[in-house]
Every structure is written in structure tokens, then in C-alpha cells.
């Protein structure tokens, strides 16, 4: 029998005909699991699931502006639901904008993945096996569930990428004028493209883990230095910023090869920092994106290397002003700089060190690896360790700057946080005390908008940073290196307690740093859950900030809590693209614990997660498009997400109405009946204003219909305790979650039974201390809920 192999064939009998065989589908791969109903879904295949979700979790719109300016027919006033020249109404236009935002986010991760995979295949070959360690057999849960493939090699990842790229283009097409009429269908598309985002993230992180030998699901990864004060300023310092470690990694390789890694400081900003430490633990984490201006203006960098995403759009300008050369590396951010790919290394180094060029575009990783250290060393030698720019030359220059302020408040009215810079300046002018200005440093995101509107051209960022100089410069901490996926064995251990509710929840704190309050609030929120033995998972900028805040004994959360995926564990999965391991872990619970098939079986898995897995996403400081698509991807998977108050600027949320009793139902596979249930969880995306509100809402949204009595009792105990602690009273809705007396917190059982009788009219058998009448439904140990008709039919068949 003729066996098909990859490559070109010429058939002798047919002249001038050749056949190219691309991918050969192997029999073994076909048989790994029976294909489910939706492998490689298009826009329509999961539309029914979306519409079921959106009927319960109604989209909420909070327009940022009343107008649409996207085409040349307008601009159109869409206020009070007028229609635009194209016929679109405000809700649909907002849904369209959200879809665009999610497309941007999904493209960012997927393009990053494509860039990496193509590069790594060139470097390591397409047959490099996907090996994520001995405890990870379900290697790509998102890809298995969505795309329906089980990738074995680097080359196999291309199939998932091709699917994601196709879907992103299709969804982006739908936002063109004259397409979608229904905001619900736009939301379905936003959910679809965001699901593709999780595929893109998973591809990117798996590719870099296997090729760069990042930690493979190791719970106890090392702790690395974090913070502004981490670098030894007597060494040349290379600062890398962005999200794609492909360009920063050769710097570390070159220095190791030269035996000079200890002569330099290599520190990163944003997710590239995470991935540098995953590659080489001698690298350090300066901090998240909002440390860019701080680091550059402080004069800490001798060279900056940028790649892609979440980088200031004026990075070159900021570097120029500070006299720091810049190497831009990614085609996504060439920054107007000349392409010097063909130049010899010496010529590039000379151009940057002499200042002939303020920066270069160099998309060749190996050359970046050589150029960056040579430039850093030469620049360092030039200034002899005395860096040019440190907020102000001396104290008198600092004071003079403060004296310029007239308290016009233009800065306050342009600040995203409405920071009272005027009050800090006035206080400093009157008393010489800069403590009020110093306090602003912890909330300031150093965006620099204030400086542009200051009529006196005060360097406000520098004033704020200088006011908190000592604290800022001495800020150091420890962050646990990103571990990548969760082990199958860990899932096996916690799957049942999570599904039954004995582990009260999984809180996944991910995303950006636009906190409404001081940075330490993220630690305060998460420690409340760690102490209560929830599982806390984190990534990206949130993971970095956690590492910068120390308790009274000088310990960070990473030093106080273990890194395993278990009750009371604090798991750092890694960078933004590592978020796929969090969605992957929820999927693996359905697969490993409950034996639900994954292959092309998205709706069943998402339905399982929604009804059973008490996981809640949390983005205390959201802002990026990537964060929008990450959150929306979690939503499609049935995971609710709580965002901080800036999250309302996404303009859209998914908020259910607990008082609409007919919206809260499931099919119970056991009794074969449609059952009305408690509103759990009652929102899929909701913003909170304060840390107190964040804590209570996170605990509340962990409740799931499938909780056992023991699990519900534990979840209700935490929810009620936290509500009483932070809100001063019992929750308004606690009774909705009570199905029997066994659900009630043990310590308060009698008191709560009395309230149920007196305030809610429930009937109680006081002799037996049992609820006789009142709950929405009674608890049944065999309760088996689903909201997907096909799943119901599948499991009730026969």
C-alpha cells in the first residue's frame, strides 16, 4: 500500500503534474477521543450556547460617548437610542465596539503565538515534542476542547493557530458597516473571538515552554527579585519591556555564553519580565507596565529593548529625553525607527552609543542579544555609573518645580484617578512637607496626561516619584516564577472538593494595574481568600504587584503561601499568555475529575463549568483590550469575572437579574425535569467599586447550583461572614441559596432558621430543626444540572 508522507510528489504517468501533501492525519490521532459536536467551530456552531447564556446574563451597556464616528456617513448621534446613518442603534454599536476590542485582544495573543511558533519551528524544527512534564497528560485542554486536536509537536500547533486566525478574521469582518443587526449576535461573536483568544494564548505559552524549557507545571518554582530597588546600579542595566520574550531571551543567552551574566543587570517590565525569569532566574522583574516612565526617568536603564503590546506609545520620546537608546524589535511596534537588520553589530552599537540614532528597529533576535549588552556597557562607561536623569538634579530643583504650581487643577481634571495633585502641591508649598504628594505615588499609574495639560509645564510625574523617592527606590520584593500549567495530579486531588464545594472557590486574579486604590489593595483582597483556603491563581501585572507588597515581617504573599494548586495555595501561572492555563485548569476539572470528553465538545464543558466549578476571574485594575478578550473568553466558558471600577469603561457587562425567577433554571438529568434554581452565579461580568465590595462579590459568585450541602455550607459561611464583616449585616440574598438546613452555616444555624421563618415566611419544624417549606428547591445528592438541551438528551438517552 502506498503510504502518504509529507512533501512533493511527481507522478510518472502524468507529465507536469506534482502533488504536495501538507499535513498527514495519523490514524492514532483520530482515535484519541471520539470527536464531539463542535470541533473547529465557526461563528454559528456555539451561537445557541451563547444565546442561552445571554438570555440569563443580559448584556448591559454603559456608553462612553453618545456618538459613532466609525465611517464617513456620520458622525451620528446615537443618544437615547437614535439610529445612525447606517441604521445601527446604540446598544448594537456598543456591542460592535466590544467585539472590535475583543478582536484586538485575541489578535494580540494570536499574532504573538504565530510569531513565536514560526520562529521556534525554524530554530528547533517542527517535530520538537510537546512535553509539559510527567504530570501533564492533558497537555492542551483548550485546544482539545475548542479545536479538537491533541498537539504532539511544535508543528501541530499551527493547526490550532490557523483555526484561530480564520475565526478572528471572520469576526472582524462582521464589524464592518452593514453587517450584524442584533447586539446579542455581536455579543456571540465577541464571545467566539475571545474563546479563540484562549486558544492563541495556549499555543503561545506551550510553544515557549517546550522550546525555551520554562518551568513545566512545577508548583515550587523559585522566587525572583521584584521591585524598583532590585538592580545593582553599579552594573550596566538592560531593561526589556513588552510581551514577547523571543527578543529578550538572546540577551540572556549571549551574556551566559560570554560568562558575563553577573556583570550585567537584566530586568523587565510587563509580561516579558515574567517570561525572562521563566527562562533565566538571574533576570529580574522591575514591575508592571506603569513602571515604564518611572524606570526610564529615574535613569535606571542603560538601554531599553521593546517588543510588543502594552508598551507606551511614546517610548522612544521618553527614552530620548532620558538619553537612553532604544531597540525596537517587533514588527507590531517598529516605532518609526530605521530597520538595521542588515547592519553589522558594530555599526548598530556605534550608532546607538554615539547618539547618531536615538533608537533602531532590529527584528533579528540573535543580533538583539549581542547589541543590547554592548550598548549597555558602553553607555554605562560613558556616564561612569552616574546616570543622566534622576527625576531632578537636586533638592532645590525639586522644590522649584513644586513652587510653580498655582492649583489650577487641570491635572486633577485630566487624571484617570482624579488624583488631588493640587492639594499635595499646596501642602508642600506651605509646609515643605511632601508626604501628601508621596502618597499619590502608590495610586498614580504614571500615564503622564497631567504633564501635558499643566500650564506651568511642571514635571508632575517626577514630582510625585521624587516625593516618594526613598520608598520607591528601596522597593523590593519576591515574585514566584511563572509555573505554566496545572498538573493533572493536582486537578485529580482538588477536582472533587471544588465541584462539590468543599474548596470554596478558585479566585483568578489576572490582568492590568489600573487599581482604584493603593497597590496593596490587591494583596489585601487576595489574602482574605488565601486565609480562607480558597485557591488563588494569578498572572501578569497582578502577579508582579503581589510580589512587591510585604507584610510587617517583610514577607510577600509568595513567601507566605505555597505555589501549588490546592486550598490556600497562591499559583503564579506566568505571563498574559499563561492565562490559558487557568481556563485550561477549569476544563481539566471537567475532564480529569468528571471524565467529560473534551474533543470538540465546548458547550458541554462550559455548561459543566458554569454549573459546578466555583471559579471566579478577578481583574482589579483592568484596562487593555487583551484583558477584555481574556475576560470574555472566561465568560463563554461559564466563569464569571469581577472587574474593578475602571472596568465599566469596557462599556459592556453581563448582569443577570436574580428577581426574574423564570431565568434561573436547569434541566436535571437525574429527575428528567426542568428545575428552577437559585441565581448562582448571578452575573458573568460585573464591576465593583471598593476592595470591600470586591471581596464580598468574589465570595458570592463562587456559589454554584451543583454544590453539595457540605460545599454550600462552606461557601455560604464565607459569603455570610465576609458580608457581615465588610457590609455590616447579613446579605440580602443569602436565603436564595438555602436548599435545606444542612446548607446553613453551623454556628448561625438556629439564628438563620428563625430569620427564615419570621422574615421570609418559611415553615420550620423546630423539633427536628428542619426546613419544611420555603426554598426555591430542595437538595438532592444526585442532582445533575445542565442548560444545554443536547447534553440533557445525551445523558438521558436510553
Amino acid at each position: 500500500m502506498f503510504e502518504l508522507k509529507k512533501g512533493a510528489f511527481v507522478l510518472d504517468e502524468l507529465k507536469n503534474v506534482s502533488i504536495r501533501i501538507g499535513r498527514v492525519v495519523e490514524e492514532e490521532e483520530e482515535e484519541w477521543e471520539e470527536a464531539g459536536p463542535t470541533p473547529k467551530p465557526g461563528i454559528l456552531e456555539l451561537r445557541k450556547w451563547d444565546h442561552t447564556l445571554l438570555e440569563r446574563y443580559e448584556p448591559f451597556y454603559a456608553p462612553m460617548q453618545d456618538f459613532c464616528n466609525l465611517c464617513t456617513m456620520g458622525p451620528c448621534d446615537l443618544s437615547m437610542n437614535k439610529k445612525g446613518a447606517c441604521g445601527i442603534d446604540l446598544k448594537t454599536q456598543k456591542a460592535r465596539l466590544v467585539t472590535i476590542a475583543c478582536c484586538v485582544g485575541a489578535s494580540a495573543h494570536t499574532a504573538h503565538a504565530r510569531h513565536l511558533v514560526d520562529h521556534l519551528i525554524e530554530e528547533y524544527g517542527e517535530d520538537l515534542p510537546i512535553d509539559l512534564g510527567p504530570d501533564v497528560n492533558v497537555e492542551a485542554p483548550v485546544m482539545r476542547t475548542v479545536v479538537g486536536i491533541k498537539p504532539k509537536t511544535l508543528g501541530d500547533l499551527r493547526e490550532a493557530l490557523s483555526w484561530a486566525e480564520k475565526e478572528i478574521v471572520k469576526v472582524l469582518h462582521s464589524v464592518h458597516i452593514g453587517n450584524e443587526e442584533s447586539y446579542i449576535d455581536y455579543e456571540s461573536k465577541a464571545l467566539h473571538v475571545s474563546m479563540a483568544d484562549h486558544v492563541g494564548m495556549e499555543v503561545a505559552d506551550i510553544a515557549q515552554i517546550v522550546a525555551y524549557n520554562f518551568p513545566k507545571a512545577e508548583p515550587n518554582t523559585p522566587l525572583v527579585d521584584t521591585g524598583f530597588g532590585i538592580v545593582d546600579r553599579s552594573k550596566p542595566t538592560i531593561v526589556v519591556v513588552g510581551h514577547n520574550v523571543m527578543y529578550a531571551r538572546p540577551i540572556s543567552d549571549y551574556l551566559e555564553e560570554q560568562g558575563r551574566i553577573d556583570d550585567f543587570e537584566v530586568a523587565g517590565l510587563c509580561c516579558t519580565a515574567h517570561d525572562m525569569t521563566r527562562y533565566n532566574q538571574k533576570a529580574k522583574i522591575f514591575g508592571p507596565i506603569y513602571y515604564q516612565l518611572r524606570v526610564i526617568r529615574a535613569g535606571l536603564a542603560d538601554i531599553v529593548v521593546s517588543d510588543e503590546q502594552c508598551i507606551r506609545a511614546d517610548l522612544l520620546d521618553a527614552c530620548k529625553k532620558a538619553g537612553v537608546p532604544l531597540i525596537a524589535t517587533s514588527d507590531a511596534a517598529a516605532r518609526g525607527l530605521p530597520d538595521v537588520s542588515d547592519w553589522p553589530v558594530e555599526k548598530i552599537v556605534d550608532a546607538l552609543v554615539s547618539g547618531k540614532l536615538p533608537g533602531v528597529f532590529l527584528p533579528v533576535p540573535e543580533k538583539v542579544g549581542q547589541v543590547a549588552p554592548l550598548v549597555a556597557e558602553a553607555v554605562f562607561r560613558k556616564h561612569g555609573g552616574e546616570r543622566k536623569y534622576r527625576f531632578f538634579e537636586d533638592d532645590s530643583a525639586f522644590r522649584e518645580e513644586i513652587e510653580k504650581c498655582t492649583q489650577c487643577m487641570n491635572c486633577v481634571f485630566t487624571c484617570p484617578h482624579s488624583l488631588r495633585v493640587d492639594q499635595g502641591m499646596a501642602h508642600a508649598q506651605k509646609t515643605g512637607d511632601v508626604s501628601k504628594l508621596a502618597k499619590l505615588e502608590e495610586i498614580c499609574i504614571a500615564c503622564g496626561k497631567c504633564e501635558q495639560v499643566c500650564p506651568k509645564n511642571i514635571k508632575i510625574i517626577n514630582v510625585i516619584m521624587r516625593a516618594n523617592y526613598d520608598n520607591l527606590y528601596n522597593k523590593t520584593g519576591k515574585t514566584r516564577v511563572g509555573r505554566g500549567p496545572i498538573q493533572d495530579t493536582e486537578i485529580r486531588k482538588v477536582g472533587q472538593p471544588i465541584v462539590f464545594g468543599q474548596i470554596p472557590g478558585v479566585i483568578a486574579a489576572v490582568g492590568c494595574i489600573n487599581y482604584p486604590d493603593e497597590m496593596k489593595s490587591i494583596v489585601e483582597i487576595l489574602e482574605e481568600f488565601l486565609k480562607r483556603r480558597y485557591i488563588v491563581v494569578t498572572s501578569g501585572c497582578h502577579a508582579m504587584d503581589i510580589g512587591m507588597i510585604k507584610d510587617e515581617e517583610g514577607r510577600t504573599l509568595y513567601e507566605k503561601y505555597p505555589g501549588n494548586f490546592d486550598a490556600g495555595g497562591l499559583v503564579n501561572v506566568g505571563s498574559c499568555v499563561s492565562n490559558a492555563h487557568i481556563s485550561g485548569a477549569t476544563i481539566k476539572i471537567a475532564n480529569i475529575f468528571a471524565m467529560r470528553p473534551l474533543r470538540g465538545n465546548y458547550a458541554e464543558i462550559a455548561d459543566y463549568v458554569l454549573n459546578r466549578v466555583g471559579a471566579v476571574g478577578f481583574s482589579w485594575g483592568p484596562y487593555s483590550h487583551k484583558a477584555a478578550s481574556i475576560a470574555t473568553g472566561f465568560n463563554r466558558l461559564g466563569v464569571p469575572v469581577v472587574v474593578g471600577p475602571h472596568g465599566t469603561k469596557y462599556r459592556r457587562a453581563y448582569i443577570g437579574k436574580p428577581w426574574k425567577k423564570d431565568r434561573w433554571w436547569v434541566y436535571d438529568i437525574k429527575t428528567r425535569q426542568k428545575v428552577f434554581i437559585e441565581p448562582a452565579p448571578d452575573s458573568l461580568l460585573v464591576a465593583v467599586e471598593t476592595k470591600e465590595e470586591a471581596i464580598v462579590q468574589l465570595a458570592r459568585l463562587c456559589i454554584r447550583p451543583n454544590d453539595t450541602s457540605a460545599g454550600r455550607q462552606i461557601k455560604l459561611t464565607h459569603y455570610i461572614e465576609l458580608h457581615q464583616k465588610y457590609y455590616g449585616d447579613l446579605p440580602d440574598d443569602w436565603h436564595l441559596y438555602v436548599r435545606s438546613e444542612a446548607d446553613l452555616p453551623l454556628k448561625q444555624r438556629e439564628e438563620l432558621l428563625k430569620i427564615l421563618e419570621e422574615q421570609y415566611g418559611w415553615k420550620i419544624d423546630w423539633e427536628k430543626k428542619k426546613i419544611v417549606e420555603g426554598p426555591i428547591r430542595h437538595y438532592d445528592a444526585g442532582f445533575n444540572p445542565t442548560i444545554v438541551e443536547e447534553v440533557y438528551e445525551k445523558y438521558t438517552r436510553g
Binding site: A62, D66, K91, W659, V686, E689, E692, V696, G728, P731
Partner: protein
């Protein structure tokens, strides 16, 4: 009567100069007008926000509103200082985001089951957060929204002017609302 050129009140300058993309700006109003609108309302509701946790003065004013018989929906943990002062908010658990969603539903019967609210007053919010909620209510409901924070809120139907520079004036205006209720 709207606030116009009277010396006492600053012009309705926005707290965020970029929050200008509105087709219909809020009418800046004096305290007496706010009081009259609340008095005329059939179903008024005061919603309090998280800034009550940072500003004792705001708690004082919210307590006085409660004493005047205005029901309070407390959000973001603002129920705690109110309960400590003897006030029983009619809602404590739901976020402003959720309440805004509820208000937009014609079937919402209020937290007491007596019907939806026709006039909603907002006190003690982060300005950018409240701005989005007011925008939502402006477009998708007929509810009269009144912002009595220290910031001018362009998406509200009625709002105080921007009083961030002069908190004494702001407090005296809240006092004046209460005196006229």
C-alpha cells in the same frame, strides 16, 4: 432653576475634561431644585457608594437623607457605616453596576416590591464609575438621575456643578438640599 451665572456656584466644569462626548449635557442645579425634585418624586431612591468608607461627612449626609424618609440602596460596602449609625438600607448586597441594570428593566419592582424608581440620587461614588452608570441610565431609561457628588456629571439629568475646589461649599449645598426636603 438651573445654575447659570450666579457667583456662588462654579460653572459646570467636568471632573474629567475628556468626558465630553455627550449630546445632551446634564443641567447643573442648585440645592433647592434638587430638594424640590426629590419631594415631587413618587418613588425616590438614594444610592450611596464606596466613598462613604473614606469620608465620614458623606455618611452624615446619607444618614440625614434616611431620616427624611428617602430609602437608601447602599453599595460597595457603604452599608456598614450606615448600619452603625442606625440606618437600614433597603439594599446592601448589589453593586451599583447591578442596580443600574435592574433599574433599566420595566419589570423591576424595586427592592420593596412596590414598583420601579422614578428619581434616583447618587452620593459618594468614584466619578468615572458613576459617569458610566449615568450614561447607561440616560440612554436606556426615563429615570430622573441626580448626581449630588462634588463632581459635575455630564451624563446625569441633573447634577451639582464641579465643587472639588471648595468642599465647604459642597457640604453647605448638601445641607441646603436636606433643609428643603
Amino acid at each position: 432653576m438651573a445654575v447659570t451665572k450666579e457667583e456662588k456656584y462654579p460653572s459646570p466644569k467636568r471632573f474629567d475634561i475628556a468626558d465630553i462626548q455627550v449630546s445632551r449635557e446634564s443641567t447643573a442645579v442648585k440645592p433647592k431644585i434638587v430638594a424640590n425634585m426629590i419631594k415631587r418624586a413618587k418613588r425616590p431612591l438614594l444610592i450611596t457608594g464606596g466613598q462613604l468608607l473614606k469620608d465620614e461627612k458623606l455618611v452624615d449626609f446619607a444618614v440625614k437623607f434616611a431620616e427624611k424618609g428617602i430609602p437608601i440602596a447602599a453599595t460597595a460596602g457603604s452599608s456598614r457605616p450606615l448600619i452603625e449609625r442606625g440606618v437600614r438600607p433597603i439594599s446592601k448586597t448589589y453593586t451599583l453596576h447591578q442596580i443600574t441594570q435592574f433599574l433599566q428593566d420595566e419589570e423591576f419592582q424595586g427592592f420593596d416590591g412596590q414598583g420601579n424608581y422614578d428619581t434616583v440620587i447618587f452620593l459618594g461614588f468614584l466619578p468615572y464609575y458613576l459617569s458610566r452608570m449615568l450614561s447607561s441610565l440616560k440612554h436606556f431609561t426615563k429615570i430622573t438621575t441626580i448626581a449630588i457628588d462634588e463632581f459635575y456629571q455630564p451624563h446625569a439629568k441633573f447634577s451639582f456643578t464641579n465643587l472639588t475646589k471648595d468642599r465647604e461649599l459642597y457640604h453647605s449645598m448638601l445641607e441646603e438640599v436636606l433643609q428643603n426636603l
